[in-house]
């Protein structure tokens, strides 16, 4: 078979003329510089590496909870807040007594409130009296305080491509925060869904946003409904349920077969709710759980080797050219050990899912919480792990990428 396009000789000449043809094409092009493409600009606006924020207001919600309002820090590179989806969180970076740590907090304000020149985010935080961070926040976070944050992150949001337009939120304690964002966005018209929230609190005084949620219900033309479920012995609040969020209570209020369920609350609540939801025989795609968070008491976690509890191991950390040997308790994550030593290890979700802290385990053994094992298959194969959900079971040597 012989192929000719324009004739044998012409084709051969055209072949040998290819370099000239290329040179000509290049010579006639302009020599001007190429600006940053709008796609790259938008990528930075939607997903900046970090945000420079400032506290612009603090509001007491309950005796133990405050809402902090955050806006771009004037004069910083953060000119506007990236849009987010109701239910997403911010990973706030805070220096506490010289140690730099991160904490993920659901954004409790609505997406529409982040837009425009006066845009803001709010996070609502419950004080943990023996906690590391929250007492510090209570003492120091006043208007004017500068805060470094991640861009909004996380997968706990209503996705119309996937979820039913009837949403049932199962909230426990401060787990109401993402649903406050959703409720506000529904009322605003930015989230096309009907939202029913079953909100568990220990008693009336512990309910966050009680009056506001009432008001949102009234404004929503039936699109938002909040039912309080109080676990205290005596309940005075009208229209509320007593006890915990059981399958029966869910059936009483929700259109079970046509709803997507979103669960956010403390770990004890997850265990209880998981059991109750199992009784409803929902397909997995209908139930979404907010990231598990750091396990509260790892020593009692099923599968955690009991003999390790109480031990402290030697952790060797390589971050680029720096090397440190630090102590690491078996009952604290590798990430926490590094934070205690003030090493600049990256982190974001602290639940094993975002992969931000992905590091190389050069030697040693760790316990990985199965529910928080967001590693890729090949990462397991090639020795990579997520320090935020891994606990040392021996002396360790790790290579950690420097924080961005």
């Amino acid at each position: 078979m012989k192929v000719s396009v324009r004739g044998h000789l012409f084709d051969l000449l055209a072949f040998s003329g290819l370099p000239k043809r290329r040179q000509k094409q290049i010579a006639k092009a302009p020599a001007r510089p190429v600006p940053v493409h709008p796609v790259n600009v938008l990528a930075q606006q939607v997903h900046p590496d970090k945000l420079h924020l400032v506290v612009t207001g603090v509001k007491d919600e309950t005796k133990t909870s405050k809402t902090f309002r955050l806006a771009p820090e004037p004069g910083s590179v953060t000119k506007a807040l990236p849009p987010f989806r109701a239910g997403q969180y911010l990973s706030l970076k805070v220096a506490v007594n010289g140690a730099s740590i991160t904490r993920p907090y659901s954004i409790s304000s609505a997406p529409f409130e982040a837009l425009g020149p006066d845009g803001f985010y709010e996070v609502t935080v419950k004080r943990v009296s023996d906690g590391f961070l929250t007492p510090y926040m209570w003492d120091n976070w006043q208007a004017g305080m500068r805060v470094e944050s991640s861009a909004p992150a996380g997968f706990f949001y209503h996705e119309p491509l996937r979820d039913a337009c009837q949403v049932v939120g199962l909230a426990g304690g401060s787990g109401i925060t993402p649903f406050r964002a959703m409720a506000r966005e529904v009322v605003h018209g930015g989230l096309d869904a009907e939202l029913l929230v079953l909100y568990g609190s220990s008693d009336e005084g512990d309910i966050l946003f009680h009056d506001e949620l009432k008001m949102l219900e009234a404004q929503s033309a039936g699109k938002v409904r909040v039912v309080h479920v109080l676990s205290c012995a005596e309940v005075a609040l009208a229209g509320c349920e007593q006890g915990f969020i059981t399958a029966d209570i869910v059936r009483r209020y929700a259109d079970v077969g046509n709803s997507s369920f979103f669960v956010c609350g403390p770990q004890v609540m997850y265990e209880f709710v998981a059991g109750e939801l199992a009784r409803l025989n929902l397909p997995r795609r209908r139930v979404r759980w907010e990231a598990f968070g750091q396990v509260k008491d790892i020593a009692r976690y099923p599968g955690f080797p009991a003999e390790a509890a109480g031990k402290t191991f030697a952790l060797q950390v390589h971050i680029n050219e720096t090397h440190a040997e630090i102590p690491a308790r078996a009952t604290e994550t590798v990430l926490v050990a590094m934070e205690r030593a003030n090493l600049a290890a990256p982190s974001q979700c602290r639940s094993g899912e975002c992969g931000f802290c992905r590091s190389l385990l050069l030697s040693g053994e760790v316990f990985v919480v199965p529910e928080s094992d967001g590693r890729r298959a090949a990462d397991k194969e090639f020795g990579y792990f997520h320090p935020c959900s891994s606990y040392p079971l021996s002396d360790l040597e790790v290579k950690v990428p420097q924080s961005v």
């Binding site: 078979m1 012989k2 192929v3 000719s4 396009v5 084709d11 051969l12 055209a14 072949f15 290819l18 043809r21 290329r22 094409q25 290049i26 010579a27 092009a29 302009p30 020599a31 001007r32 510089p33 190429v34 940053v36 493409h37 709008p38 796609v39 790259n40 938008l42 990528a43 930075q44 939607v46 997903h47 990236p82 849009p83 989806r85 837009l115 997968f155 996705e159 119309p160 491509l161 996937r162 397909p283 997995r284 795609r285 680029n320 050219e321 990256p346 992969g355 931000f356 992905r358 590693r375 890729r376 298959a377 090949a378 990462d379 194969e381 090639f382 990579y384 990428p401 420097q402 924080s403």
Partner: protein
């Protein structure tokens, strides 16, 4: 542009620094490390791979970008990628051969087509003949022309820039005579019937250039490698391919560093002298292999900017950026059988008027050209029993996205994703929507975010005949714009695609090694 401050007092020093751990950068760093070169691979993200990655959502691990690796072949008939990967780098993974080349579904009323074609020369010819009786001879001729292109390219590679003219004009005359032309020009000259073209050119979206502009050599070379060597994917997504390379680079004595963007490539007297990272560190080196596009390297990285020759600027402006990607990743709670999906690779096109389909990539409509995969049909246990992973991919010209505002971004991407899902359902009959357990949508912004790619392009410069593999190869011997700077990846001379970008790393590594050896005398 104002030259930025350069940190003084260089600390670390390397024989070579590779900028970016995409397929090309990994190939280059692995090649250099294998030859004992002191090499540092820098990557801005915290995983290797660039587009060649994976991500986890719930109980699914999604493939980021790979549809297939070409030029790989079975162990008994190794292609150059498998030879480099297994024989030279000694990396051994669990590879899966794709069950078919593609199922092409053409949907325009009156123009419908639904045909499944397998790889392997005889299979390929047989399957087209079965769909279009009487086409055996022309398909055979067309396949053999593609095979000749690959043989000729192999010969050119082996002759290291000094081919014997007699061999070329004797053995590879058809290769020579088609190299200056487009796919359509060659198909016209061969009088390939329209219906045969519809099937034969179906993989045009893998190159992203319509057949009236795409270099025949590049297209024919792709088909000439796929047809005899078939196509493969590794068990645990691209991330396994790229992680195995990253691990091997370290074993071979190379160094790798994540979360480290290269902000500057320092040039003095036309020679690379170092790089500056996003951590503010200055690293000395006389050799940089860039896995970033020349557009980014010459416009953003080279410092001082006055070191960029005018010709380099003209060259990047003369070339046309490739298309940007858009992918809908679906984790479904139904098995492929329940969904009625029996193939791995689905090409769903309204028609094969490729210039018109390409024109639609310039607007934010729902493109009527998608290349999709159902991963479980290649790797049955890639997701839990009773589930499946489907990825629907289409293309856009980057400029289509230029006016999207941050607050509208999610609505725009969801509108397009929704349309793509509906079109896929209509073409295949698979009820995707009611089974979605996990969904993620990657847009040009997503690709730009994770790799820095200019405009979110996933392909290199468009390989029109004047800038195809051959003229790019011929230009390799021309004086360099900057001494000590090589390119690899989809923007390099081999053009884009998984295997091409990976193997361009090998070439860039060897070219760097050659210069290093000359410098050492």
């Amino acid at each position: 542009m104002v030259d930025r401050t350069i940190p003084q007092q260089p600390g670390r020093s390397y024989d070579a620094v590779v900028v970016g751990a995409g397929n090309g950068g990994l190939g280059a760093a692995a090649q250099l490390a294998a030859k004992g070169v002191k090499v540092l691979l820098l990557e801005q993200h915290n995983v290797p791979g660039g587009f060649a990655t994976s991500f986890v959502r719930g109980r699914f691990e999604f493939e980021g970008a790979m549809h297939l690796i070409a030029d790989f072949g079975p162990p008994t008939n190794k292609g150059s990628v498998r030879k480099f990967f297994e024989d030279e780098l000694d990396i051994h993974l669990d590879w899966f051969e794709l069950p078919e080349a593609f199922r092409l579904i053409q949907t325009d009323p009156g123009d419908e087509l639904d045909v499944t074609v397998r790889y392997g020369r005889d299979n390929f010819i047989h399957d087209i003949e079965k769909a279009l009786p009487g086409s055996r001879q022309i398909v055979t001729d067309y396949v053999d022309l593609c095979l000749e292109v690959v043989e000729a390219l192999t010969y050119l590679g082996e002759s290291r820039g000094h081919p014997d003219r007699k061999v070329l004009t004797g053995k590879y005359a058809n290769f020579l005579k088609t190299a200056p032309y487009t796919v359509d020009q060659v198909a016209n000259a061969m009088k390939v019937p329209r219906r045969v073209r519809d099937i034969f050119h179906a993989l045009w979206t893998y190159l992203g250039v319509p057949t009236d502009r795409c270099s025949f050599t590049v297209f024919g070379g792709m088909m000439g490698k796929l047809i005899p060597f078939s196509a493969y994917i590794p068990r645990n997504r691209s991330h396994e391919f790229t992680s195995s390379l990253e691990a091997r680079i370290r074993e071979l004595g190379g160094e790798t560093q994540f979360n480290t963007r290269v902000d500057q490539i320092l040039v003095e007297n036309g020679q690379v002298v170092g790089v500056v990272t996003s951590h503010g560190e200055r690293i000395a080196t006389k050799h940089v292999v860039a896995n970033a596009s020349p557009t980014l390297v010459f416009n953003r990285l080279i410092q001082p900017q006055s070191a960029v020759p005018e010709l380099a600027r003209r060259e990047t402006n003369a070339r046309v950026d490739g298309v940007a990607g858009f992918t809908v990743y679906l984790g479904l709670d139904a098995s492929p059988r329940e969904l009625g999906l029996n193939e791995y690779s689905y090409l769903i096109y309204a028609n094969m008027d490729t210039p018109r389909l390409y024109d639609a990539f310039k607007t934010l409509g729902v493109p009527k050209a998608t290349a999709s995969s159902c991963l479980n049909n290649a790797i049955p246990d890639c997701s839990p029993p009773g589930t499946s992973i489907v990825a629907i991919t289409t293309l856009f010209r980057p400029d289509a996205w230029k006016d999207v505002r941050p607050e509208d971004y999610v609505a725009v991407k969801n509108r397009i994703a929704s349309g793509l899902i509906a079109d896929f359902e209509k073409a295949t009959g698979a009820p995707l929507r009611q089974h979605i357990e996990q969904v993620e949508v990657a847009t040009p912004q997503t690709y730009a975010r994770y790799t820095g790619a200019h405009g979110g392009t996933i392909y290199g410069y468009e390989p029109e005949p004047w800038d195809s593999l051959i003229p790019r190869m011929m230009a390799l011997t021309a004086p360099k714009h900057i001494q000590g700077l090589e390119f690899c990846g989809g923007y390099a001379f081999r053009c884009h695609g998984y295997s091409s970008s990976f193997m361009s790393g090998q070439t860039a590594g060897l070219l760097t090694l050659q210069t290093l050896l000359q410098e050492r005398g």
